[in-house]
């Protein structure tokens, strides 16, 4: 393992820890961007250059920025809100996460892989024939899914929905019933 690799992996883990522990949601999202940027570098190092660029452009550039946008829109930067009804769940969660890690490790342990495939640098020229060949239907399905998701997202945030049309006092009543 070269020192660069070791550094990259350490950075990945460190930013990952930050994402799940930072109290300010904006900071967590920024840590996530950092994580994704490092990840993009790792991708390039792993002969997946196209994927690396996509990672920067789509993930770090678009998706996480969308997150930041929503966090700011909803004034939801504060991660620890109200009182925690499940105070003692953190150790349990840590235990379970450890269990997950162990389960994955046990799957990887003893795996003998020959990392010698020629990936042609993972450039679009290499990915294109696959995308439009064997994976064409998957590609189309994903495209359809994206379209559907767009429609759903628009429908979800329609400003005039029947619930909002109720008068405020009715809404309050309904809330009480629901709780």
């Amino acid at each position: 393992m070269s020192p660069w690799e070791a550094l990259a992996l350490l950075l990945l883990l460190a930013t990952g820890v930050l994402v799940v522990t930072l109290r300010n949601a904006i900071h967590a999202a920024l840590a996530l961007i950092l994580n994704f940027l490092v990840l993009a570098g790792v991708y390039v190092g792993l002969d997946a250059r196209f994927l690396g660029f996509i990672q920067v452009i789509v993930y770090a550039g678009a998706i996480v920025v969308l997150f930041l946008f929503v966090i700011m829109l909803l004034y939801a930067a504060q991660g620890e809100v109200g009182f925690d009804p499940l105070v003692r769940s953190k150790p349990l969660a840590a235990l379970l996460a450890l269990g997950v890690a162990l389960a994955l490790f046990s799957g990887l342990w003893g795996l003998n892989l020959a990392f010698a495939k020629d990936l042609q640098g993972g450039l679009p020229q290499a990915l294109g024939p696959l995308l439009y060949g064997d994976w064409l239907f998957v590609l189309l399905a994903v495209g359809f899914l994206l379209m559907a998701a767009t429609v759903v997202a628009v429908a979800l945030v329609q400003p005039t929905r029947p619930l909002d049309a109720l008068r405020p006092e009715e809404r309050k009543e309904e809330k009480e019933v629901v709780r």
Partner: protein
């Protein structure tokens, strides 16, 4: 191999985040972390098995984009309705 183990650790970190985070947005961020951990392992495996792994990772990114669109839409819709993004407030399913 080190990439694959790192990916497993990142995935576990994501699980921890999903289980402990208390606002929907942060839970979502943790899920993104898990998705990327899976992507990392896909790219890692691609070195041993060929380009399909990278193509699959590409699909994961696209699906993640769709998921984010719907998820954030849901969060905004829920926020409009009850002025909160805390997941513990969504406890109507109590038995």
């Amino acid at each position: 191999m080190s990439y694959l183990f790192t990916s497993a650790l990142l995935f576990a970190l994501g699980v921890y985040g999903v289980l402990t985070r208390r606002t929907a947005i942060l839970v979502f961020l943790s899920i993104e972390l898990m998705l990327n951990a899976a992507n990392l392992s896909l790219v890692g495996f691609a070195r041993a098995h060929g380009l399909e792994g990278q193509v699959a990772a590409l699909m994961v990114i696209a699906i993640a984009a769709a998921e984010v669109a719907v998820g954030l839409g849901l969060i905004v819709a829920i926020f409009r309705h009850r002025e909160s993004t805390a997941v513990d407030d969504l406890s109507e399913l109590r038995g």
